[in-house]
């Protein structure tokens, strides 16, 4: 703030300003995560009381005396009951395993295949590779609804309706963005290192895995994060491609919890939402720096 006003005035003003802003954003941050806090709180309440006392912690007001207040709290809270229900009704660990397997598998497949393909496209200059590149660009502007019907039918016909098969589908539908991002980076790598490696007797495979792939690391991290966020949270593609009676991912399991029983069990719903968010929050706290950088790079390039 206005540094040329003289040091004393400006520091005082900046501090005052900064303090107010910090206060304002502290409050805003709490409002921001308030929905998540409410879900955690409600996941421990009996389902009958969730909508009756959605934001409170007791059925009695504290004005009615402390003992009443505690009794009211004991009435509406039920410990881990909802979690047991939720895990049983949604077969949660199964869905969690499917989600994890599909996400890890798809991300690994995409990184490996797309980086190799991108390197090939850049280093081999033919009409074929140019067309491949243009098709990848084109696929980025096609919304999923355009291909959802035919894609899910083809996947069924090719027996890809299982967690391993869907990885192929993800590789195919996600190839556009990933190949695009990898080619962007490969183009900036100088040819000399690779040529030197080849003269020293490296095969193209050795050159790629020993020289090129390590250099690609920043893009690899970006692609991994973007694709992981996409696959982990995706609902429509797996719900159409997978045989959902046998294999559910977490978003599908949640959607089925809502649809399958006439009356939604909001207690179980709250618990399953907490279980779904928890791994994301943990992952976010551990890899925050990479996630934010990855998302930023993805937005600017894509």
């Amino acid at each position: 703030m206005a540094k040329h006003n003289g040091p004393e005035v400006s520091t005082v003003r900046a501090a005052k300003h900064g303090g107010l802003l910090t206060l304002f954003f502290s409050i805003l941050s709490i409002i921001w995560i308030f929905p998540l806090l409410v879900v955690v709180l409600n996941s421990f309440k009996l389902k009958a009381y969730i909508f009756r006392y959605p934001f409170g912690i007791s059925s009695k007001s504290i004005a009615e005396g402390w003992d009443n207040f505690v009794a009211g709290a004991q009435k509406i809270f039920c410990g881990w009951l909802n979690y047991g229900n939720a895990i049983e009704k949604t077969n949660f660990w199964n869905s969690f395993g499917n989600s994890l397997f599909i996400t890890v598998g798809a991300v690994c497949a995409i990184i490996l295949c797309c980086s190799m393909c991108a390197w090939y496209i850049v280093r081999v200059n033919t009409i074929g590779t140019k067309i491949m590149y243009l098709l990848c660009l084109f696929s980025m502007i096609v919304p999923f609804q355009m291909v959802m019907f035919t894609l899910s039918k083809f996947a069924n016909m090719l027996h890809l309706s299982n967690p391993i098969g869907i990885i192929v589908v993800y590789l195919g539908f996600g190839a556009g963005l990933s190949v695009f991002m990898f080619t962007g980076f490969v183009k900036s790598i100088s040819l000399e290192i690779e040529e030197a490696a080849m003269i020293d007797g490296c095969s193209p495979l050795q050159t790629f895995f020993l020289i090129v792939f390590p250099i690609l690391k920043p893009t690899t991290v970006t692609v991994a994060i973007l694709e992981a966020m996409w696959v982990w949270n995706d609902y429509l593609l797996p719900s159409l491609v997978l045989n959902v009676n046998k294999y559910k991912t977490i978003p599908i399991a949640i959607q089925y919890l809502k649809q399958s029983h006439g009356q939604v069990d909001w207690g179980a719903m709250m618990a399953v939402l907490v279980l779904a968010i928890l791994p994301i929050v943990i992952f976010y706290i551990i890899c925050q720096k990479y996630i934010i950088e990855g998302v930023l790079a993805g937005a600017v390039k894509g």
């Binding site: 502290s26 921001w32 929905p35 969730i50 190799m116 081999v124 609902y235 809502k258």
Partner: protein, 285 residues
């Protein structure tokens, strides 16, 4: 060197090409073909020409406004969400680049909802909205407008943090000397914003606007989980309208596919416009 690599086509490029063909090229081409057919699965098609396309707007000679309603509902939703998300994200980004205490923590908190998927996110908000609205004897699907503002709140909560990150990066890229020079020349805060910050941020603004624009246009999960298109089909955004036509009514798969082709053309037009704008408006240097 090039020839040496070319021999390795099968290892390097073929796996991706096969998956890309299964996952994109074949479904895309066949999808366009099927939009001119009557079918219930991919093998029992019967060529019907443009019938599917006319059926989008006319049923038995009568005008059917459901798709048109969905188009303008989506357009309105997109415009409102683009404006709110970008203005708020920009304002937060401006404040969080002033070096106030706790900046990192705030950034972390605001960005968090972006990582949570549309389905999970929507059920969180469905509970909150219905808990509040029940006091007024309403639910989120009481009218298409409660649904509308509910959807807006959800996408804002999800995307403001994301756009904020991009805006922060953009603001930090503005050279400090430029701001200093303008201040020395006596520019006030408003002039600084209007004549220095905003013009320098044009590329960022374009990126963010189009990201939110396409996100709004393609929104599906939140729409399905939060409102399910209710009441009636009045809160169906385009993507859900297509899904509903395709899987909700038997015999209408062709019409759904034709709608999808129109949807693709709309999204493609937006993307091409974005590309034109970003390449022409980028500040050179």
């Amino acid at each position: 060197m090039e020839k040496g690599i070319r021999k390795y086509f099968v290892i390097f490029a073929l796996p991706t090409m096969i998956a890309f063909t299964i996952g994109f090229i074949a479904p895309f081409i066949y999808g366009i073909f099927l939009s001119f057919c009557k079918f219930t699965t991919v093998t029992d098609w019967k060529w019907v020409g443009f019938e599917n396309y006319t059926k989008i707007f006319f049923i038995n000679g009568n005008l059917d406004t459901s798709f048109i309603h969905s188009i303008w509902y989506t357009a309105l939703f997109t415009v409102v969400s683009v404006l709110i998300i970008n203005v708020v994200a920009f304002a937060i980004a401006m404040a969080l680049t002033k070096g106030i205490k706790g900046t990192n923590l705030f950034r972390t908190v605001f960005f968090l909802p972006n990582l949570i998927g549309g389905i999970v996110l929507s059920y969180i908000w469905l509970m909150i909205f219905n808990a509040i609205l029940q006091r007024f004897d309403m639910t989120i699907v009481t009218s298409q407008w409660t649904a509308f503002w509910g959807l807006i709140a959800v996408v804002c909560w999800q995307q403001i943090g994301y756009m904020m990150i991009i805006y922060i990066a953009g603001i930090q890229n503005i050279p400090g000397e430029l701001i200093e020079a303008a201040k020395i020349d006596g520019a006030n805060a408003w002039q600084l914003l209007r004549n220095v910050t905003l013009p320098m941020l044009m590329p960022t603004i374009t990126i963010c606007s189009f990201l939110t624009l396409t996100n709004g246009f393609k929104l599906f999960d939140q729409n399905l989980a939060l409102t399910g298109g209710n009441p009636g089909k009045l809160s169906q955004l385009l993507a859900l309208n297509i899904y509903d036509t395709m899987y909700g009514t038997t015999g209408w798969q062709g019409v759904g596919q034709a709608k999808a082709v129109i949807f693709f053309i709309l999204v493609a037009l937006i993307s091409v416009t974005q590309n034109k704008l970003t390449t022409s408006k980028e500040v050179k240097g």
